[in-house]
Amino acid sequence: MSVENAPVVDVDEAAIPVEKKMYYRFESNDKKEFRVSELAIQQSETLNRLVEAMGYTSEDVENKPAIAIENIDGKTLKLVFQWCEHHKGEAIPVDDGSVPKIVEIPEFDAKLMDIDNGLLFKLIWAADYLNIVQLLNVSCKKVANMAQGKTPAQLRRVYLLPSDEEDEAAKRAAQEAQDPRAREVEEEFEERKRQGGNSFF
């Protein structure tokens, strides 16, 4: 199944088997609506608890407003639900940190995550917020794979990491923005040192 064709937004009602399945409605912060199967929702601990607590019937799902997910946009949420539908029914991994985590990125996930870094980071954030353990694992693995075999200089470019000098400059700038007198005090201190004084006071 291709990523584009994953059954997230458009659900063919006729294709639903005789056994009645429940499809919940969710709305992103940019007002895009998604229908997601009950089994797919189980991949997200946050959403699963939410729908359990709401105790909706099939009629409620249709008649009440869609459940709002206020801090995730439609583009990201579409990827999240595509992933959940594709992996519905799969066991959720448990990690107690005692053994090395071995995560392989399946072909479907690799295609799903063939996106720019900005969207990938939003996807990671969404997986973390919605507590989708395996989606978080594969997306973090993808970010980690970007670091493989890279030098520190290359890593700074890939992950947009500041060097120590840039980091300190940013801190100084932030400090100065808070206290404009700080720079003046520092300059005065440097000047006194140049004149031979050891103590500022």
Binding site: G97, V99, P100, K101, V103, D114, I115, D116, N117, G118, F121, K122, I124, W125, D128, L136, N137, C140, K141, V143, A144, N145, A147, Q148, G149, K150, T151, P152, L155, R156, R157, V158, Y159, L160, L161, P162, S163, D164, D167
Partner: protein
């Protein structure tokens, strides 16, 4: 072109959007790894091997502190010290450090180059570098191989290794090759008991009094797998019965040994398999009577298979007895 710029246009083209006049929103928030919550950064770092972590730690001080604070699982390390040369291998292709003596100085060679150093013997520098990695409390190692072939310098090597070794190393399997067992008294205490599950020793000389001390160590008592090659195990077989599996060479097997082994190992919930080879000839006829029922179809003249049921259980011992080569292998099986 900056990487972020390249990344932006690459994915636009990949998605079939070829409009070169597209006005990019420069003020749009660009997500950086450091914007991520700590648990996500931890998840990312978890997938990086020791060398990628070292590169990441070198990017800036904040990352160094963060990366060094994360648990690291590494598959394999190998330390070899012998005359003229020492090396540390990291179980990954082309990842090693080689230390070689050249007169009064020594050289190091690694993937990215090497250097010449004076003042410290080559073996001492190798041990110091090895300790730096192994003594990191966050470092977890699956397999460690240590090979020392410098009999004259063994005391100095061991003193250097033990000196300021603060944390018990988390190593799961230890393969230790040295001229004699004496070094075990200093080597084994370096490892965390319980985490160390496998001990494999290859030595030419075994000192009975050293082994008496070794079997009292927590590392020995908590280990699950034991193998000793190249020499005869000195000590009672009783000291091996807590292992899940053991493989040794023994002086001589008696009928009483077989009775005791069956009695004690039948009660062990952990025991899976043991193999023993004997130096001296054994009373084949009397021992065979103790082994159980011979499975005729599966047996040959000098290689017989016996089944011996364990009372009140659904388990039995499958015993392979090679009288010609004086070997016995016992496995616990379920009916």
């Amino acid at each position: 072109m900056e990487y972020r710029e390249f990344d932006f246009w690459f994915y636009r083209f990949l998605n079939g959007e070829f409009d070169l006049n597209f006005e990019r929103d420069k003020d749009k928030k660009i997500y950086e790894l450091m914007d991520m919550p700590l648990d996500i950064m931890k998840n990312v770092v978890e997938y990086l091997d020791i060398f990628d972590r070292m590169s990441l730690a070198s990017t800036n001080r904040s990352f160094k502190t963060f990366v060094e604070d994360q648990k690291l699982f590494h598959p394999k390390m190998f330390l070899h010290v012998s005359e003229e040369v020492a090396f540390i291998e990291f179980g990954m292709e082309c990842r090693f450090i080689l230390y070689k003596r050249h007169g009064n100085c020594f050289t190091t060679k690694m993937q990215q180059g090497g250097k010449s150093l004076r003042g410290v013997p080559y073996w001492k520098q190798a041990i110091r570098d090895f300790k730096k990695v192994l003594n990191d409390p966050k470092f977890h190692l699956k397999t460690l191989e240590i090979e020392f072939y410098m009999p004259g310098l063994m005391p100095s090597i061991l003193d250097e290794l033990v000196d300021s070794f603060i944390h018990k190393a988390r190593v799961s399997s230890l393969f230790f090759r040295a001229p004699s067992t004496d070094s075990l008294l200093k080597i084994l205490p370096l490892f965390q008991p319980g985490y160390l599950t496998t001990i494999e020793l290859s030595m030419h000389e075994i000192n009975g009094s050293v082994m008496e001390k070794v079997i009292e160590m927590e590392q020995w008592k908590h280990a699950k797998y034991f193998t000793m090659t190249n020499t005869v195990f000195r000590g009672s077989l009783h000291h091996l019965y807590h292992f899940k599996q053991f493989d040794i060479c023994y002086q001589q097997l008696t009928v009483e040994d077989v009775r005791q082994m069956k009695k004690i190992l039948s009660k062990s919930s952990d025991f899976e398999k043991c193999s023993l080879r004997f130096m001296n000839s054994v009373d084949v006829g009397s021992i065979e009577k103790e082994l159980g029922s011979c499975i005729e179809g599966a047996s040959k003249r000098y290689q017989k298979i016996y089944h011996s049921p364990i009372l009140n259980t659904t388990e039995y011992f499958e015993i392979e007895w090679k009288s010609w080569t004086r070997e016995i292998t016992m496995k616990k099986r379920k009916l």
